[in-house]
Symmetry: C2
Subunit: 418 residues, 2 copies
């Protein structure tokens, strides 16, 4: 069987499973999640052995230290994956929730009920924990999942998928609910991208290249995740102590993630008081600064920022800094260079706070808080499958609800259309 | 300027307009809608003159009578378009609605606020009234719209767009908010399909061929509309009088639309009592019947249904009829041949009603009512831009709310991530 036929056969199994999963009780799904967690713990040695193969191959291939760290599994990380599954148990099951219901003049009662999306394809890169997270969240929400991980993690992903899907099946989950595309052939991805008949939605998780490939070639609907060129704007009326805390947190607490700040915008009236101080603190924390002309006048050790810097998601301890004339210029800069992910203003001025909230077009807009909060757990969703940067269906952190759609259920007593 | 450059320039204007539209007050938008309605009435002669050109060209081209009827405008139809705009005025403005807000343990207040999608591209076929409907609904919801109508209606669409966009601009709506792709060159559509930088969503409205072209070639997110292979299942425990009313209504009240019934499923226990009676009534109403073997035994004048009939959306006075053994077989048939649009059961049995509602995967599932109710006006949305048959973002009738997305607005007091 060729790659194409294999992927289609797998997707057909997923579709059959999805029909059964859609009406499975919360109890059965929760028991399966517990069994999957238990199986991960019991079979940790199998996973570690498989992971050792991936690590060895990765080292031989010369993968970067950062990539190898993402790839690495150990007892602690496996325990975290198991705990992640258990945490899903206590979350409410969104499926079957009737979010509204109304009665029409003719007596028809129309309700809007949450239902699973169906079959979800997840296309991701190195980290094998995504395999468990995605499988768990899709199961909790009654969706079948087709996992296509990075080739570097193929052995780890195989072991993990084998273990959790067997545990799920033993708990009454239909076969085919959790499947891995068990090949490193890229053709498999291209087949997935156009399987509209069997796959309801694709969620790519990874670098900009992966996401572009998926968006450009998919006919299956895609939820785009990822790129975050996030800004913090420190207004003239900011509390400077608060601004300092937020700027340092947004840049340095975890610089390699999409909700970290990449450009700092500072109102010109406050720049002389604020910039030299924050610049030194950031430098002490290892941050390289790249500033506009005015920034460099105030911060002699800042490098020159080019047009490219305003558009770059560094994902690193580098920060672009620009002094702006007013709120208007800040909003315009964000509109021009932002990626509609997370944007923050620091101000004590009520009108400016509202203006920023209203006018900045992004998944999450903050007043006096760090952009780092754009996260399913931080928002209280209890889980996260990624952060959507598109506007259709899901925007920002995607929790269990974002893996559902709805159907209208209509109760009549013989109504016909006039 | 080539077609490609023209479309890009137009889309850039739309994007600029969208930013301003997003924060425009409901009052300004409503006044513009009224002005647009008034302008349509005052300039009806211009529209009729342009339409006469389209009708003449259509006749010369040998367009079908049905197509010519869709293309035709007259005083009455223009008045209806104007009234459609006025009806939008009284609808609530979804933009700015905060649908939920919660406080996190760290004190962050997170709200979910409706915002416009941005720039919406509508690609549609013959009927020029879509030009007005779509422009009105997009304006009401703060979106810029790029209209690409069928080439048969180009003169009508030009006149209409010129009149309503001038009226809108005179009422304070930014230039570029309502634009027509003023060429019949198909290349224009292909450019639109991949303009992710400027267009946020595409909504194709028309036949299966148009929709397929858009889905297969677009990189811009698409909301699929359209195909409805809808079923009515008459259960053994149905009220036969009610079943008759519903079946006749679902098939004949307006057979050419997507929510009309295409296949009738009848439980075997009730088939001998129900089928001969309903078959005669349907025949008297001009409906051609195509039945399974058992149907033909009960209804001698029914033609033979082939595998293809179960999968066909006739959009005509033709009905496929199948006798099924039980609810299970009905649900399976619908799962196999349905297009997830509108499905109905007629039954007095509570358990079967719930089972059907739970298990049938469609945008709208009905108990004891006609499938013809799947419609934005019938659902009480006050307007409709189409009926989505996909699962992402919008499902079923799309009213004003479905033309919005949301953003999270987060109120902090200096919170940083730990």
């Amino acid at each position: 069987m060729g790659v194409r036929e294999e992927v289609i056969a797998l997707a057909q199994r997923a579709k059959v499973a999805a029909v059964q999963l859609a009406t499975l009780s919360t109890e059965v799904k929760n028991k399966a999640l517990q069994a999957m967690a238990q199986a991960l713990r019991e079979k940790a040695p199998e996973i570690l052995e498989a992971n050792a193969k991936d690590m060895e191959a990765g080292q031989a291939q010369g993968l970067s230290r950062a990539l190898l760290d993402r790839l690495l599994l150990n007892e602690k990380r496996i325990e975290e994956m198991a705990q992640g599954l258990e945490a899903l148990v206590s979350l409410p099951d969104p499926v079957g929730e009737i979010t509204s219901m109304w009665t029409r003049p003719n007596g028809l009662k129309i309700g809007r009920m949450r239902v699973p999306l169906g079959v979800i394809g997840i296309i991701y890169e190195a980290r094998p924990n995504v395999t468990v997270d995605a499988a768990g969240l899709c199961l909790k929400t009654g969706n079948a999942v087709i996992l296509r991980g990075g080739s570097e993690a193929i052995n780890s992903n195989r072991a993990i998928t084998r273990i959790i899907s067997a545990a799920a099946a033993a708990s009454g989950i239909p076969e085919g609910a959790i499947q891995l595309v068990d090949t490193t052939d890229r053709e498999a991805v291209h087949v997935m991208l156009r399987l509209n008949e069997y796959i309801d939605v694709l969620i790519p998780r990874g670098g900009a290249g992966l996401i572009r490939t998926v968006v450009e070639n998919a006919t299956v609907p895609v939820i785009e995740t990822g790129v975050g060129n996030c800004h913090v704007y420190v207004d003239a009326e900011a509390d400077l102590e608060m601004a300092e805390k937020i700027v340092i947190n947004a840049k340095t607490q975890r610089p390699g993630v999409c909700n970290a700040m990449e450009t700092l915008l500072v109102h010109k009236d406050i720049a002389p008081a604020f910039l030299p101080v924050i610049a030194e603190k950031l430098r002490d924390l290892g941050v390289e600064l790249r500033g506009c002309e005015y920034t460099r006048a105030l911060v002699p050790f800042a490098k020159e920022a080019t047009e490219e810097d305003w558009a770059t998601e560094y994902l690193d301890l580098i920060l672009a800094v620009k002094v702006v004339n007013d709120l208007e210029e800040a909003i315009e800069h964000i509109g021009k260079y932002g990626t509609k992910h997370s944007e923050a203003i620091v101000t004590n001025n009520y009108l400016k706070a509202w203006e920023f909230l209203q006018r900045v077009d992004a998944a999450a807009v903050y007043v006096n808080a760090s952009t780092r909060f754009t996260d399913g757990f931080q928002y209280g969703f209890g889980a996260e499958i990624g952060i959507s940067t598109q506007k259709l269906h899901a925007r920002g952190p995607m929790g269990p609800e974002q893996l559902t759609t709805f159907k209208y259920i209509v109760f009549g007593s013989g109504q016909i259309r006039q």
